[in-house]
């Protein structure tokens, strides 16, 4: 951006940073980069059942100039790699990349000559989403986590300086932005539980315990 990034660190920059980041995260538009099977799940996430439209993301822009978030959904072959890079380069700043599925994150089950072993060989990735394919709910969780990360991004050189100062002061949140599952983040009680568990270093155990207690996978004949 322009003048906003050059503001001196201080209350003005903090406020501007918050507003700008909030605007950026609330209106991410995805660029279509559905390559293979994961694209089907991405499309399913846009359907009314799972509804990415709740966050304004049901519109996938075909033009990279109008998109902020490139969801690389599917395996990238050696032949497709330069195309992927070109589309990424054509996206305007600010831009983020979510690699959806194991094939985009690491080559997946295709450990061979034809498939690029992870799109992070080609573009910088902000969020990795494993799964083969990941369920639409998992994709939505990854998008929400990425939005949280965007919300806490420092704005410009001044912002980075302020972040550095905050880190030195120890004024960092317990849970890194983007590290809490969305189902915990949206519920205040569970959010406290998670933060407490992170302090103790047992957040995964908490997740498993809660899941076993709820027992949703045992109800409705397994259709949870």
């Amino acid at each position: 951006m322009g003048i906003e990034e050059k503001l001196p660190s201080g209350i003005l920059l903090t406020t501007v940073e918050r507003v700008v980041n909030w605007a950026r995260k609330s209106s991410t538009w995805g660029a279509t980069f559905g390559l293979a099977c994961c694209a089907i799940e991405m499309m399913a996430a846009g359907t009314p059942h799972y509804d990415l439209g709740r966050w304004g993301m049901e519109v996938f822009r075909a033009s990279p100039r109008q998109a902020d978030l490139m969801i690389v959904a599917g395996r990238v072959s050696q032949k497709m790699a330069p195309v992927l890079r070109q589309v990424y380069d054509q996206m305007t700043e600010p831009k983020w990349v979510l690699s959806m599925g194991v094939c985009a994150s690491s080559g997946g089950m295709f450990n061979n000559y034809a498939i690029v072993q992870g799109v992070d060989h080609i573009v910088p990735v902000d969020m990795y989403l494993p799964g083969c394919p990941p369920r639409p709910e998992m994709l939505i969780d990854a998008i929400l986590r990425l939005r949280e990360k965007i919300l806490h991004e420092p704005l410009g050189a001044g912002g980075r300086k302020m972040l550095q100062q905050r880190i030195e002061r120890g004024d960092v949140p317990v849970v890194a932005p983007g590290a809490m599952p969305s189902s915990y983040r949206s519920d205040p009680i569970r959010r406290k539980q998670w933060e407490k568990a992170v302090r103790e270093g047992r957040e995964e155990q908490l997740r498993i315990e809660n899941w076993m207690k709820e027992g949703r996978h045992l109800q409705r004949g397994g259709r949870w």
Partner: protein, 248 residues
């Protein structure tokens, strides 16, 4: 054991008198008669390289292709007779006629493939209008002319299928292109070139179609490595499938 210098434990039996195995000790099960050739041994235990993936190891000794005697059965006889009638030079063009598992395969000499295809397409009794597929096969180890090209022809008027197979050595992998007869073979032949290295003479634009244009090597040949990188887990690194080894 009258030889006093020899220690009884140095005997192969450890000094225990060895007699013939008692009757009933063997059951005559197939596992007790190890297979004569490597092909029958399967993948258990370590043989050769100890490859555990199956990518490099499966060896199937393909028997020599022999012509099936007449009558072939089904519509194959009609097809062959019609072809003989329509194509006078069939004897020099055909190397083998094989009927296997309900499918007719005509092995054709590479030079004559275009003429045979034209006759198959145009003759009224044959009418194989549709070239369903052109693909390559690599018979490394079983055939000195290791690269084969298989043409699957379908007749929609008579509802028949036939396969033409052409064999070329890897040193001189030239086959005339059938795109003048079947235009759909255009991209199929490009794929066969890309994956096997079979060069089709007379093809309008023979370039790589699946791999990037500057790729070196022909991936679907049997001696092309799988590629792939070792995968790191916590506390272990697993190599790609064709490089995994068993150590027992």
């Amino acid at each position: 054991m009258s030889d006093v210098e020899k220690n009884p434990s140095e005997d192969s039996g450890g000094g225990v008198p060895v007699s013939a195995p008692p009757v009933g000790a063997t059951s005559g099960a197939p596992a007790e008669y190890p297979p004569a050739s490597r092909a029958g041994r399967g993948m258990f235990g370590v043989q050769g390289t100890g490859d555990t993936s199956g990518f490099g190891g499966l060896v199937r000794r393909r028997p020599q292709i022999t012509s099936t005697p007449r009558p072939f059965g089904g519509y194959f006889d009609e097809v062959y007779d019609a072809l003989e009638e329509a194509f006078p030079g069939l004897d020099e063009a055909i190397e083998n006629v094989v009927v296997d598992r309900g499918e007719l395969t005509l092995h054709i000499r590479p030079e004559r493939i275009v003429d045979v295809c034209r006759v198959m397409r145009d003759d009224d009794a044959l009418r194989f209008e549709l070239c369903s597929s052109v693909s390559g096969v690599d018979y490394l180890g079983s055939d000195p002319r290791r690269l084969h090209v298989a043409y699957h022809l379908t007749s929609m008027t008579y509802r028949r299928r036939v396969r033409l197979e052409v064999a070329v050595p890897a040193e001189n992998p030239h086959v005339p292109s059938v795109t003048s007869v079947y235009p759909t073979a255009d991209w199929q032949e490009r794929e066969t070139y890309d994956m096997f290295g079979v060069i089709f003479d007379g093809h309008p634009a023979l370039t790589r179609i699946l791999m990037p244009d500057d790729w070196e090597g022909f991936p679907q040949r049997k001696d092309y490595p799988l590629g792939g990188i070792p995968v790191e887990y916590k506390g272990a690194e697993v190599p790609p499938p064709d490089r995994r080894r068993s150590y027992q």
